[in-house]
Symmetry: C2
Subunit: 200 residues, 2 copies
């Protein structure tokens, strides 16, 4: 039995922190793992900015609820779920993902969680697992599932390499250069072609 | 992060082999793991009957395509997927499940596969895993997911006991007696109450 694991942000939906940065005008929130490879440092930096600006979970959720899946993503995800199984592996947080997952008709999502205080301020976060995406693929393989994985970022590479098959999707040039052995596709049509080939 | 694992047949949809037995009038196909605990023996027996009656995959799929989820199952599954993650763990076969999964709006399903010959006759089957449900729960736990499991049958007990929480759903009296330590609920409303308690 086959399973496709997809990254969420940059693949099916826009980058959430960047959308929030645009909505609030706080440019520092555009910083991503590309600028700060230490994820914990990056998150502490983000939490500091939220605190400084008195921004709480509902403020972020309000922006997210106005976001839409990327063009073609819903049709792609549906068509994929008609032919095989899909689990989305993301480093985002449950509290962020929900409105977007509803717009994608509720595919299964494994991700991280935010710690929220009673006054709805964001006080911290819980990683599901160090290297959660790779370990998820490893666990799926231990269930004798044949796994295909795709994503756009550095944090997707271990998952793609752990899977039985995979590719990059709309990855930045640098990642494409560093991982010249991996196919990179830029449209859902081409991604489906690569997956179809894997499923055969 | 939480995950709910549910059995399929008897929980969300009717028993497929029993429906096929009714549709074809072949009483022997009513035999289940309750009558024949050796699953391989049972499946070989079923495959023999299919062969003897010249019944092929499309004949079974035609019956399945006329089946509906159990009353209230779609609403229950949707409501569950709005609040947490769901993976269906079933001993059924991909080739059987598809039309029913579409009617349940495509939740993620891990199950087994049939071997189909070119003329569409059923020649065998592939178990994803010996003890696939239990091993799946164990693998999900290795991803640091907190797992709740529910099912109605003997083959669900190991999954329920491996999970962090769980219950029986519409289980036969004998199973309820044998597993007096497990709660057994009979309505989706009560099942949701038990799950809500687990999620808190």
């Amino acid at each position: 039995m086959n399973l496709v694991c997809l990254d969420l942000e940059g693949v099916l939906v826009p980058e959430i922190w960047i959308a929030f940065s645009q909505a609030t005008g706080i440019g520092e929130l555009r910083r991503t793992t590309r600028d700060e490879p230490d994820y914990d440092k990056l998150m502490q930096f983000r939490l500091e900015i939220l605190k400084k600006n008195n921004l709480k979970l509902p403020d972020i959720q309000k922006v997210i609820s106005g976001m839409q899946p990327l063009s073609g993503a819903l049709e792609f995800a549906n068509s994929l779920r008609e032919k095989t199984q899909l689990v989305i592996l993301s480093d985002t947080f449950e509290q962020f993902a929900k409105p977007l997952m509803q717009k994608l008709l509720l595919p299964t999502l494994f991700c991280n969680s935010l710690k929220i205080a009673e006054d709805q301020s964001v006080t911290g976060y819980t990683l599901r697992h160090q290297n959660g995406k790779k370990e998820a693929v490893r666990a799926f393989k231990s269930m004798n599932l044949r796994v295909f994985a795709a994503g756009d970022s550095f944090n997707d590479l271990a998952m793609i390499r752990e899977a039985d098959g995979g590719c990059l999707f709309r990855a930045p040039e640098q990642i494409q250069k560093d991982c010249a052995d991996l196919i990179c596709v830029d449209t859902f049509e081409k991604l489906m072609e690569v997956i179809d080939k894997f499923l055969k």
